[in-house]
């Protein structure tokens, strides 16, 4: 069975992220993208628009010393959505992060992602990591 184009696109996105090419992530998103970051830490909240979103990625990268790593265990997609299950690891100020997350994207007909939301298996650990 052929891979869904939204899965292919998601792999390209994760490869771009893994290379550290944050500006290279822009084409994946719609101009009015809304990115919801759950939890109760300094980075929690809604990021609206590409500039805000790339800014969030840069802040997360700086605060983790570039150690954040996203390893997908599953990428599932239909025409309207992508769902990723992934293991997120990172190190920060002697603290380590090692969690599993479920993430979902809304996909526009033009293939861009307009909304993102996610849930970690252990929100408290995420909050402590960024505290």
């Amino acid at each position: 069975m052929a891979e869904h184009p939204n899965v292919t696109r998601t792999r390209e996105y994760l490869d771009t992220f893994a290379r550290g090419d944050l500006q290279g992530l822009r084409p994946f998103f719609s101009d009015d993208v809304v990115w919801h970051v759950a939890g109760n830490h300094e980075l929690s909240g809604d990021y609206v628009g590409k500039d805000a979103l790339i800014g969030y990625f840069e802040t997360a990268r700086q605060r983790s010393g570039g150690s954040l790593s996203l390893a997908p265990t599953s990428i599932m997609a239909n025409d309207g959505h992508v769902v990723i299950m992934l293991r997120v690891t990172g190190e920060r100020n002697g603290k380590t992060l090692d969690i599993e997350m479920a993430e979902a994207f809304s996909v526009r007909p033009d293939g861009t992602w307009s909304e993102f939301w996610a849930m970690p298996d252990d929100q408290q650990r995420v909050d402590e990591f960024w505290a």
Binding site: M1, H36, A38, T73, S74, M76, A77, N78, G80, H81, V83, M85, E100, A102, A104, S106, E115, W117, A118, M119, D121
Partner: protein, 145 residues
């Protein structure tokens, strides 16, 4: 062109067993058959509900998941209506997209929103983890506040 095997009725592969598992859960939820719904979960399966409201949190084990469902039914007075929008399944994971409407018991509050459940499935064919996510967290948080 003739096909010696006869006309092909459908070109679709049989449904993935994990898709069947998700449909079983969904049907049980629609029918408010909690026993059947819990039977889709591993004994120590986890049901994670995002948000910051009366029903959000991590529920581990069938008894905890049951308590969550009872709470949902109490708060909505049995008005919750679920519609399956789409389903994706693979060997270890599956995703369910749904639409939900509900009324909050004893109030004029209503909910009309979309939700996603992402599942991990163990080698016994049961849900070991499930994540409940939704497009409009604020609508859920307000409704279940």
């Amino acid at each position: 062109m003739t096909d010696e095997a006869g006309p092909r009725v459908a070109d679709e592969a049989p449904e993935h067993p994990n898709a069947t598992l998700v449909r079983t859960l969904f049907s049980a939820l629609v029918a408010r058959d909690t026993e059947a719904a819990l039977g889709c979960y591993a004994e120590n399966g986890v049901y994670r509900v995002s948000g910051n409201n009366l029903v959000s949190g991590n529920y581990r084990g069938r008894a905890a998941i049951l308590s969550h469902h009872i709470k949902l039914m109490e708060l909505t007075g049995g008005t919750m209506e679920l519609t399956l929008e789409d389903l994706i399944a693979e060997d270890d994971h599956a995703v369910l997209f749904w639409h939900v409407t509900a009324e909050r018991a004893g109030t004029s509050q209503s909910l009309d929103a979309n939700g996603i459940m992402a599942f991990k499935i163990d080698d016994q064919g049961k849900f070991s983890e499930s994540w409940f996510l939704y497009n409009d967290r604020r609508a859920y948080d307000d409704f279940f506040s």
